[in-house]
Subunit: 185 residues, 2 copies
DNA sequence: TGCTGCATGTAATGTGTTACATGATTTG
DNA sequence: CAAATCATGTAACACATTACATGCAGCA
């Protein structure tokens, strides 16, 4: 089984989801996967008895398959969790553009960073909404580190922290640009 | 041309490099690429006249090709820099394991996080060495945001910040685990 | 009436990883 | 004496993205 398979098991271990929902969750977790990758994998995991699904017929909406993790799936997931993790893979095009920043003029650079700042400010806002929802709905369970919500909570906390740091970095760079512009006057 | 092609141009725009060196640089930038991907791409970019190379014969070591960016390459790179950047792709297995943390016992969870902490403490140490080297060698040029070193400097500063935040997150989680263990006694 | 959301699936293509291949020199 | 470093290259395979395919409901 491949990494994405385990990642899906990991998410489904919190509670059952449809493939469609998993696409959104993965996007929110910055681990984007297309539905064309997720649907066949879910089928495969079901054939391997790592997952089971309930077919729900709907009216006015397409029917759906709600996948749950099986005993076998949980065992496989546990083994994966305690296995060595490779270094995180980060493919951030913006940061690689920053690397060669000197090729563009100061004003263009400034507007690129301002755009990045705006994008991350939005991310932080929506992340805060998610976190507040978790905090409200699971106030007491969050103190229990063995609760299902705890892992999800600290996961989102980390994402939130990262996004806030991106904002402060953008602001720092913008201040350096402004300082530089002043010395040129 | 694909994204990795532009990323290579971006790095080579700072100064000429060999394929072998590019593999190391990409790894340090958390954008890992194998040599089997880089070497053929460099050839392709050379054929497209985005890059040129100097063949250097060595004694005691294999010969090497030092690639430099061309005028055409710089123009293509500039267009890429000002183009829209997709959201960063982050594939962090460890964080997805944390998501399903409740499946493992508290002590195992604790040791996983301690391991992560140790890995990132090492990363921070080596990152600080790199940053100090840049600060020493380019003290004056760093104030000039149009210098070649500036982009590289703020890039590494961001990486450093991220790694430090990972450490503080790990420590925060460990403290939550300890608090929880105490309430159980 | 055209777009977005819900919901699933397959096929073709593009990208990334692992493995195969070579070989001298340095370090433990 | 085995492993790592330097240095490049290709082939096979696995994984990811884009495109093709369907269809109803609700909204502007």
């Amino acid at each position: 089984m491949n990494t994405l398979g385990y990642v899906l098991l990991s998410i489904i271990s919190i509670r059952p989801y449809t493939g469609y929902e998993l696409v959104q969750i993965m996007a929110a977790a910055s681990w984007k996967a297309n539905h064309s990758q997720i649907y066949p994998l879910l089928s495969k995991l079901e054939q391997q008895e790592m997952l089971s699904f309930e077919y729900v017929e709907q009216i006015g909406k397409p029917n759906k398959k709600i996948y749950s993790i099986t005993e076998k799936g949980e065992e496989a997931l546990k083994d994966w969790i305690v296995s060595e993790s490779p270094d995180p893979i980060i493919r951030d095009e913006f940061m690689m553009k920053i690397y060669a920043m000197k090729l563009i003029d100061t004003n263009t650079a400034k507007s690129l960073i301002e755009k990045r700042l705006a994008i991350f400010e939005e991310k932080v806002t929506s992340r805060e909404a998610t976190l507040q929802a978790i905090e409200k709905n699971h106030q007491e369970t969050l103190k229990d580190i063995t609760s299902k919500q705890f892992g999800r909570y600290i996961f989102f906390k980390r994402k939130h922290q990262m996004e806030k740091e991106e904002i402060s970095w953008c602001k720092w760079v913008l201040s350096l640009i402004d300082d530089y512009s002043k010395t040129k006057d």
